[in-house]
Symmetry: C2
Subunit: 201 residues, 2 copies
DNA sequence: GACGTTGGCCAACGAGCGTTGGCCTCACCG
DNA sequence: CGGTGAGGCCAACGCTCGTTGGCCAACGTC
């Protein structure tokens, strides 16, 4: 009753192409890494989700670490804020990340990254890389130049990561209870405070 | 050459008391859990740090999970802000947490909790508990009552957790480069923005 | 000095993991 | 029709882990 490896395929296994299988593995891996982190994700589990044997994962990706590396690929698709009125930038960022996090669950590479980066140095390095190459440039475009501009950009990231942490990983009830518009309304001013030097309080 | 189990104790093992050993195990466990998280921390490693055999850990704490539970005990020692001028509250919180995080490294229960809570449900539940019992009451004391007060308190926690994440776990370079006073100066206004309803921008 | 108690070690089990290599089975090309 | 290669399965190895149980040596008390 554990499994039926006998004469099963009625019409189900239409003999996938290698690319399709690889994509299925990657999707399954992203979902598992995002939910359980690196250590607790097993090759056998990923393979099971993708409907194949664990050895196939090895064949296609070489090792668990390389599969992980492939799952970390991420493009935040941050908006270009150079043409946005400065007062609208904070709300725009909050909205953008909420949309990403709450949107397509198969595209949860960002949560993969966040969950793994906390215990996995490889993922943490990748996170720093994402910050340096994607977040920092996008934020700096909205920031008056100055010696502490990079710090402000990083602290803005810290706030957004803290939001993701509280809402999606720790699931703090009061944060979970908020509608996206409420999050935007309450949190955007906080981003603004970090973005804008010398803004009077 | 791997070890010398023979006639070793010259004068070194003064036959510790049970309480001392238990405390040594707990300290080693906190350090390992804080650095590596739950999964990558091994009983054998903890026992090695404490200078004893792995089976002793079992005898004193029952199981890895119970050891973990014991390591999660934490008291944030949050200040009472009822007598503090509202304008000073945000800076006070930032300073308090920086002091805790940057202080005594043996007292890193908070980082244990943060690092583990991301992949371990038990730790996440404990984190929610810490928020509800310690953070929320302390913050609500500094907040004008209102329907969204709990949300504001939670978002403030998100900010502080984001700061810890960026500085101590992800080690984002621009955040790491800041002196504590600079963090306080740049981040406190952001806390203020979340704390204070309707503060004009 | 006998003896129970206490702190500690050692060896092993059983399970789960990543990883390997061989074998099978179709679809397609000649 | 024969062959070849790609997609896939199965069985196993070696390792590490949490956990168990038995054994040992020192101490304290009568």
């Amino acid at each position: 009753m554990t499994s039926e490896p006998l004469a099963e395929p009625p019409a189900d296994r239409p003999r996938r192409t290698s690319e399709a299988t690889k994509a299925a593995i990657l999707a399954a891996a992203r979902a598992r890494f995002a939910e359980h982190g690196y250590e607790r994700t097993t090759i056998r589990g990923v393979a099971g989700d993708a409907g194949i044997d664990a050895s196939m994962v090895m064949r296609y990706f070489g090792s668990k670490e390389q599969l992980f590396e492939a799952a970390l690929a991420i493009d935040l698709k941050l908006p270009d804020v150079r043409d946005v009125p400065p007062d609208d930038v904070p709300a725009l960022f909050v909205r953008h990340f909420l949309d990403r996090w709450e949107g397509d669950p198969t595209d949860d590479a960002l949560l993969v990254l966040l969950r793994s980066a906390v215990t996995n140095d490889q993922a943490a390095a990748r996170m720093r890389d994402v910050f340096a190459r994607q977040v920092a440039p996008a934020v700096l475009a909205a920031l008056p130049p100055g010696p502490d501009a990079p710090a402000r950009a990083a602290l803005l990231s810290a706030q957004l990561l803290g939001l993701a942490l509280a809402r999606y990983l720790l699931r703090l009830p009061p944060v979970l209870a908020l509608a996206p518009e409420q999050v935007e309304e309450l949190y955007a001013p906080a981003l603004a405070a970090v973005l804008t030097p010398g803004r009077p309080l």
